[in-house]
Symmetry: C2
């Protein structure tokens, strides 16, 4: 598929991409960059990668990336701009080919386009934005799983200067990892993620904060049951990561939140006014949609176990 | 503990109380009322109960409840007033003793006090309100579990006319079923439940409705992952039951919702204004509280497995 690939960031996602590529024999030589030198050292020792470093330019300076065909950036969104700048420096110094395909895994896209434009002065035709809709309770390289993406959605967000052949190469790589590839515009992607991921995190954070604040001794949590347990699970997510996501996807999050508040206020009025019809109609539509979603989940599990 | 107990409503909760009483040999004779005649018939055949009927007054007319010491009402909140009226009729006709202890399992309390006052003209000193904080994915008599309440909270809401000895008897019964009994006023109970149970259901219904409404083909659900799955699970709950709960606990739900909206608007402003401090501080407090709650859950599981 590719002769030489560089993966930047060996966390859960980057590590799982690496493992999936190895398990499926998709690439000739693999290189990696991660701030954790031990992860790099162990990956070299275990013959998972040919070489690696905690700094992209140091690795490029060895000359080993001169014929690298593809770079996959799997670091938090806020760290991507710095990586892009180093890639540009390496290209400018002929340490990376100027047609190297650059892809990512970030959960927000509009901000990455902006970062790329800031760094390159144009939107590079070889920059293909991608986002695997997968995650796990665990994190870190040790939790990597070559099957993590199997039967999960992978959204590619082509931009106006992308060549189809470049987009197709990234799509083929992800399909080989088992992902189901869809193509969605950057704007639509950010809107979808605001609703399906960012908004639930915000709403869960707020209620958990409200309970914690209401009761200094946290006694109120002793009276919670399964519903709250599930609802609040994502409120234990990493504050720094989610702070970054809300600011990176600000416009789409605020738009989704506006709509949410409108519906919430309608239901509030329905409760105030004993408007049974409105309450029942809304709950019925939600219940049917959630059951539809539950069936999708069952199908996905079946696909994973094929 | 008691010589004769009547359970009204053999769903998951009533059935699990029945099974727990039998498993722990707590009561001499058990009687039951349920609208499902088959459940009653099978329970008699299986020697779980001495006798039963689909109508409380029909059962009382047999004379078998003349020395009944305790009635536990385990039906949906909206159906309790009708049961209380039948109990009053049976007492008035000397078919139930006038000092029979009456208890319930409803998840809202202020409305039950009002129902009791409407029916009896006073708050009966032998009416002890109780609420087991337990539930399960399943429902119905067949899903009953004598261990359902083990290590779970049971809130008793004493009112001003209760005698301590009556309250103690109900507390002892629940402790014998494995529950951890706490005493909380009706108002405080309704406030706690509004925050820990009713509000999460409302918030989850609203987001799921928003997604369903936004996308007629429900395509957007294909892009959701684990966070949304957990957050939205309770949106598949029974619309009629939750409609009843929101109206039954209207004041406390609206008060909790007001506070929620205030905090949500503060976070919205923080996102708009790039106020990193406010975002991080709120998320940190929520994360710490959720992790504290997670530890409580682990302890509870350990207790269940003792």
């Amino acid at each position: 598929m590719f002769n030489k690939v560089l993966i930047v960031g060996l966390g859960l996602i980057g590590g799982s991409i690496l493992q999936g590529i190895i398990d499926n024999h998709l690439v000739g030589e693999l290189y990696a960059v991660d701030f954790n030198k031990l992860v790099i050292k162990n990956s070299i020792n275990d013959k998972l990668i040919q070489d690696g470093d905690d700094d992209l330019l140091m690795l490029a300076n060895t000359g080993k990336l001169k014929d690298c065909e593809c770079i996959i950036i799997a670091v938090p969104a806020f760290a991507i701009k710095n990586i892009l700048a180093k890639i540009k420096t390496a290209i400018d110094n002929k340490l990376l080919p100027d047609d190297v395909i650059i892809s990512d895994t970030a959960s927000t896209k509009g901000n990455i386009l902006k970062d790329a434009f800031d760094v390159f002065g144009v939107l590079p035709s070889n920059l293909v934005l991608a986002h695997p809709i997968a995650g796990a309770e665990k994190s870190g390289f040790m939790a990597r799983d070559g099957n993590l993406f199997k039967a999960h959605k992978l959204i590619i967000c082509p931009h106006e200067f992308n060549h189809q052949i470049t987009v197709d190469k990234i799509a083929t790589l992800w399909q080989a990892l088992g992902a189901k590839v869809d193509f969605v515009s950057c704007d639509k992607h950010d809107e979808i993620l605001a609703l399906t991921s960012h908004l639930p995190h915000l709403l869960s954070y707020v209620l958990t904060y409200q309970l914690a604040k209401d009761d200094e001794n946290l006694n109120i949590f002793r009276y919670t049951a399964g519903g709250f347990r599930d609802f609040s699970r994502i409120a234990a997510s990493d504050p720094i990561m989610w702070h970054d996501i809300f600011l990176a996807n600000k416009q789409a999050v605020l738009k989704g939140l506006d709509n949410y508040q409108t519906i919430l206020n309608q239901l509030k009025s329905a409760i105030e006014d004993d408007n049974s019809d409105d309450l029942l109609k809304t709950f019925e539509i939600a219940k049917n949609a959630r059951e539809h979603f539950g069936r999708l989940l069952v199908e996905k599990e079946k696909l994973k176990n094929l």
